[in-house]
Symmetry: C2
Subunit: 226 residues, 2 copies
């Protein structure tokens, strides 16, 4: 009776299918953050209230998607009691889903500013091109995050980890402009660009965090001996 | 030979000791966030650069403490393969440590603003009392978070979940003041109070998130059947 090996083999197959399901859902969440950021940055830089509403509608669902994914991960942990790399993948999935949820919220906040100021603009002319670039960098980083979650390639993960430098630079540039003597905009613009710049920067931070987790998964010193 | 039950009993004892260790470390991290916020709010409202430095020094350690705690949790998951409530406690510990890490970073950011503006003040007179109250509410919430992680009392957890309402109100008040016709401060003040207010609000959010997790641990529908 080769029942035991068969059952073990079947358990392993079930587990692989479950891991794939986790990966598919992470990719979907990452795709959502790209969709939200694409719409949010257009809404913000072009005062487009319809796109803002669409961004906010998708952002409103990310919390539930993260919750559902976390529940799936916990169910797998309970059923399969994975160790070593399998366990690391699942714990990383929990952290990555938390980052993706925050990315959805942050890009939703950018859309909310645009919506709040409509039909006016939330950005004065002096910073328009800066925010166009920041938004496009965040969308690009979001797309790379999708790709990374699909291929989990460690070199690609390392590459992405340096890519928020330009976003950080633009974030500092926003403050330089706002704090310069030439800045004569009202406080509303100052508040809006301060927060929007912060949200863009945090979005990029989370992509870097996710990349670091994927690197760690592949290369990290993992020691389950105490 | 009653070896098996003995071993099971011993495993259970080891597990309880490990869970206690996780709890002790979470409490320590929460105590750190209180210490950071106490120093940061004083630094920020009284332009005290020494307290700002002390706050930043503690905040700099929170990342490593969170990492060490997460590693401990992963080791326990690998060794003990817990299910049901035990598994939930450990997964919640991962999430709570992430929130505590962010709370340390956010209060550190408040101290960093104070340090950056020293010897000047980062807050104009019109908002001084608002930030004194916000800071003191955050410290109070932090202390309740410490207490909650010690006693994990579900009624207390529910009580805390409503307590960020006043912080949210003060956060909105900051914007009302900044966007009113009476606000004639320079852009530097506008930027500083906008970000500081956001950091205070997010700190309180995380306490609410932690309370929600503790409630869920005690009352949540937990179903490990698929």
């Amino acid at each position: 009776m080769a029942e035991q090996p068969d059952r073990g083999h079947r358990m392993r197959e079930v587990f692989q299918t479950q891991l794939q399901e986790v990966q598919v859902r992470l990719v979907e969440m990452a795709e959502d953050t790209v969709r939200i950021m694409e719409k949010a940055t257009k809404a913000f830089t072009e005062s487009n209230v319809q796109l803002a509403d669409e961004a906010i509608a998708i952002a409103d669902q990310t919390g539930n998607k993260a919750l559902a994914l976390d529940e799936l991960v916990i169910r797998i942990l309970a059923k399969q009691s994975p160790v070593a790399r399998d366990l690391r993948i699942l714990v990383s999935a929990l952290r990555i889903s938390a980052s993706l949820e925050r990315m959805g919220a942050l890009s939703g906040h950018i859309a909310a500013i645009a919506r709040y100021r409509f039909p006016g603009s939330a950005i004065p002319a002096a910073l328009h091109s800066t925010f166009v670039e920041m938004g496009s960098l965040d969308v690009e980083l979001g797309r790379k995050c999708v790709q990374l979650l699909r291929n989990t390639d460690v070199d690609f993960a390392r590459e992405i980890q340096a890519e928020d430098a330009r976003v950080d630079e633009l974030h500092r540039h926003v403050f330089d402009v706002v704090l310069s003597d030439d800045w004569n905009e009202n406080a509303m613009f100052t508040v809006d660009v301060t927060l929007a710049s912060r949200y863009h920067e945090r979005f990029a931070d989370h992509v870097v965090d996710i990349s670091a987790k994927v690197s760690y998964l592949t290369t990290g010193e993992w020691n389950e001996q105490e």
